[in-house]
Subunit: 595 residues, 2 copies
């Protein structure tokens, strides 16, 4: 696929970066991948593996051009061996679909990123994704037993075995996990599974001070409780989930929601301990539920929090930079205070939430990307967040990866380790064709992210109507939740035929990057206007309005469906015959036949 | 250290291989290590890191000569940050000592190899060691958050962070873990810790058929129970632990001992499920205990099983080859049957036990190493065990590593992965100075292990008395349990001044590899004959007898302590003055002074 309209839809992810590929290829088999990689190797063309396009760091963007390998069509669940607690899958399988299949066997694949309805196993392997359950269940790497990988040479290797422990050679599986597609292209994964715990409760509690909530997290962990998930939200986040999901939760400075799972007896014991900590620290409204529906509602709200934050402030977007550090448990409280102080210092709208049980905080900055003042303050705050991370012995990224966005900070975080990574990269990809420009491997700088995706906003200054429409389009966070429900996407499996692609295209159209064309018309024409995308869209982007407006714009420029055009011309010529009653229509038909 | 007597004590591990180093260095700091590595790099000298010398595969032997870096003197626990569940340690710290220290904080480091009283964290990192608790707690790699590593260039890098999750660059930590010292020398480890579970029970059950025991393991796992440990022993193993530890357990074909840990409520729920499986499969004598002493006795017996197997048959030793495969759970029952059939086919005394909950079986072959017929059959059986492993999609080694012993099988097991490993090795150690000759990296063959350590037995044929003494010496399995208790070893921290070294030296002395000398005399002279080593020695090697006999042999050749010699000469000259009463002795003293 190499037409401009299609390619533009592959130019962005959840980050503020944007680079357009030269082509997108949709492999259906390992052999397809080998062929592409061999071609790329001979022609020195960059290749960039991509799952659902929900990367937060630019890791899946073709920074140096090249070919995107989109694994959407390579998504079969090849084998579930329940007795061995093992599944074998292709990289394009979507996490929620895998877990629905595994549930039939009473099993699940524990890593659980917020993007579970869209994200693929391949993407999770590339970034070592995790999410809310990491404290108890670990990250993706803990659940990958083996991989099939196409190396830069086109050679295929298998790593690992379907066994839970081995000491047989270097752990190549773990080298590939989290390497963001820079060392090889994964074409199959052997996953470890866990039995679904028989009993689960969700506990919520509120605090009048965010620091107290941080303290509660530490004390719960030290009490020996192992929460399956434990999330901490500040007032901003709490109000967003309240508003978007109508949860009716009390409005306080700190909110903790946690899940306990296991046998009923063990969960009840843990619940008593959690309540003990809540009482001791003066939590407000501590309550719990074992009703799966109620729990699901709370967790769905939490999972959709990031995209929903895009709704906080009119004409502002959530820019994910420095969005994913992790800290030693004892540093969390201090780190939260750092973020609050920095938000105040730089006068930015900020929010903090995180997978508190594993020290992973998500500080969030919400800015008007077209305002150079805010943008500059945001970049200075990013720098200071990372200083806080390094001072507190934290890691740059807990689960999103380095990609493009954190590359300028890689050296400070990794020290000599960056040179070791480079040696390994050269050893496995001497020509540098595998996802170049990422992780600080071959380039440690980045373009000003303000000059990429958001640049078109600045260009639209003065064109109020178009600017307003462009802001609506960039409220789309590219989270890809709509991929799961869009009927045309799920027929074609091509971004330009799906809701997210249509929003992206409308933005580029307004910005003047793409012109009215037959291809563009088709992208909008095929939309069924069913509105499912709007229902699952956390920031509630008005996709249907966008599509209808684009159809009008394109029609105004002469691009119109041939059937519609014929129909219109017909009406202009003969009047609206569908307005006539049956008898009169019959007469008219006779007349036309006669004439 | 470079005298022959001292060096010979570093020529063996638990494997049948033997290679003598050119020197042994005892670093006390990172700087010492850097200096040695830089010297080695300049002079192209192999360097071999070593912990307690309990490797089972020859991984710590200087196959190409060179310098052993013995970390015994670099063993401090630098930091325990209880709140973060993190400890920072030097590589030479012994596991049991670490856990004793952590227990003061209510914490523990879960990986738990049988050699815990001797083995060091550095060695565990090198081999990704695990042991009985891996099913629930994973292997060493799951508990290592970061490392300080001296690279082949002498450069020092730090990997990882004291956080439980990260996606910040290639996971270098996991690349070094399990790399058997071939990629870098670890000088510090940041470990993840767990709270000690409040309640533990040990369950035992017996079966009339070994396959049924294998079935029980599978069913227990599929019932959702997560045993902290679950071990399976066949009749041979059961009788050994019964005999050595006087446990008085019933004699049956299959024995399962498992540990459940957690809160009291959860353990009780799991216990009900385990009993259900036992009833269903007709287990005999299923019983349980929550008495820590009773549990400890059972588990101590299990942990000492391997060395104790050396006692099964007079004049026979346990040769650890193909001793450590792991299997998918569903293949375990079949694998056990394979081993039994192979033992019968080759007419060898075999035993099977294993960490059943994680598919790790330890098939054991017990042979007279001086009998070429048995030796040849053992090597053919080894080959067939690995065929069974590959056919059943298992891994060559679950926890011991490849080292020298499994190198000839590495290519079949790893396929193209071996070439990937070689690329990585070349990238990080271009001169090949780090532990060369291991893992199939630079050489895939091995010398006939019968021509190494055990060769001296064949040479002694005909000298019945010496042969008998040599067999007693090779009953020593080099497990190193005596390191923890030997008073002279714990003063000098040098093998030749400890029980294990004295046994090894006696063997080489009998075999003619080392001659009587002043240095050899010193090794035996310093022994206090306290006999602690005999008490902790699982095969019960008569170390005190060996030392006394060696003293006599050396004295006969004129090597005798100067004090003892003076005393003896004195007695010969003046008679035994200590036989006189005090008054007479006083008179004699006056006389001598006068003369």
């Amino acid at each position: 696929m190499d037409d401009k309209v299609s390619l533009l839809c592959y130019s962005s992810d959840m980050s503020p970066f944007a680079y357009t590929p030269d082509a997108v290829v949709f492999p259906r088999s390992r052999e397809d991948v080998v062929e592409v990689v061999k071609y790329a190797s001979e022609s020195q063309t960059p290749i960039i593996p991509r799952g659902a396009g929900t990367s937060v760091t630019g890791a899946i963007l073709p920074r140096r051009g090249g070919v995107i390998l989109d694994f959407t069509r390579m998504s079969s669940i090849k084998e579930v061996r329940a007795e061995d607690l093992v599944a074998v899958v292709e990289p394009g399988v979507v996490l929620d679909r895998l877990n629905a299949e595994l549930a039939k066997h009473g099993l699940f694949f524990p890593p659980d990123p917020g993007s579970s309805s869209a994200c693929t196993i391949g993407g999770m392997v590339g970034t070592n994704a995790s999410g809310v359950r990491a404290a108890k269940y670990g990250t993706t790497r803990n659940w990958v037993l083996g991989l099939e990988v196409v190396l830069a040479s086109g050679e295929v290797v298998r790593t690992g075995w379907p066994v839970v422990k081995h000491s047989t050679g270097y752990d190549l599986t773990q080298l590939f996990v989290g390497s963001e597609g820079t060392l090889g292209v994964v074409t199959e994964a052997v996953l470890k599974l866990a039995p679904i715990p028989p009993y689960r409760v969700t506990v919520t509690m509120f605090f009048d001070e965010l620091g107290l909530a941080g303290r509660a997290v530490t004390e719960i962990l030290l009490s020996g409780v192992r929460p399956a998930a434990m999330e901490l939200l500040d007032r901003t986040c709490l109000s967003v989930v309240n508003e978007v999901f109508k949860l009716g939760l009390p409005s306080r400075e700190g909110f903790i929601v946690l899940e306990l799972d296991g046998t009923k007896g063990s969960v009840e014991e843990e619940l008593r301990k959690v309540k003990g900590v809540a009482d001791k620290l003066g939590a407000k409204d501590c309550s719990w539920t074992d009703d799966p529906k109620e729990s699901l509602r709370l967790w769905a709200a939490r999972k959709a929090l990031v995209p929903a934050l895009a709704k906080v402030k009119e004409g502002h977007v959530l820019v994910p930079l420095a969005e994913d550090p992790s800290f030693p448990i004892s540093e969390m409280e201090g780190a939260i205070r750092d973020f609050q102080a920095l938000g105040a210092k730089y006068g930015l709208t900020t929010a903090t939430f995180g997978h508190a049980a594993d020290g992973n905080l998500h500080p969030v900055m919400i800015v008007d990307p077209a305002d150079p003042g805010q943008w500059g303050r945001m970049l200075r705050m990013e720098e200071e967040i990372f200083k806080s991370v390094l001072r507190r012995r934290g890691a740059l990224s807990a689960e999103h990866g380095i990609g493009i966005s954190k590359a300028p900070f890689a050296r400070r975080a990794l020290g000599g380790g960056l040179e070791v990574m480079r040696s390994l990269k050269r050893a496995l990809d001497p020509k540098g064709i595998l996802n170049p420009g990422k992780m600080g491997l071959d380039v440690e700088s980045r373009e000003d992210p303000g000059n990429l995706l958001y640049a078109y906003l600045s260009r639209l200054r003065g064109e109020l109507q178009a600017l307003r429409r462009a802001y609506e389009a960039v409220r789309c966070f590219r989270c890809g939740f709509c991929r799961a429900v869009c009927p045309t996407f799920n027929y074609f499996f091509v971004e330009s035929k799906g809701a997210r692609g249509r929003v992206i295209l409308s933005y580029y159209f307004l910005g003047g990057l793409v012109e009215a064309s037959e291809a563009l018309r088709q992208a909008y024409d095929q939309c069924t206007l069913c509105g499912h995308c709007v229902q699952v869209c956390p920031p509630g982007v008005k996709v249907v309005d966008i599509v209808e407006q684009m159809r009008r714009d394109l029609a105004a420029k002469g691009f119109i469906n041939s059937v519609h055009r014929a129909l219109g011309e017909n009406i202009l010529k003969y009047g609206n015959i569908y307005g006539l009653d049956n008898a009169a229509r019959g007469e008219l038909a006779k007349e036309l036949r006669g004439g």
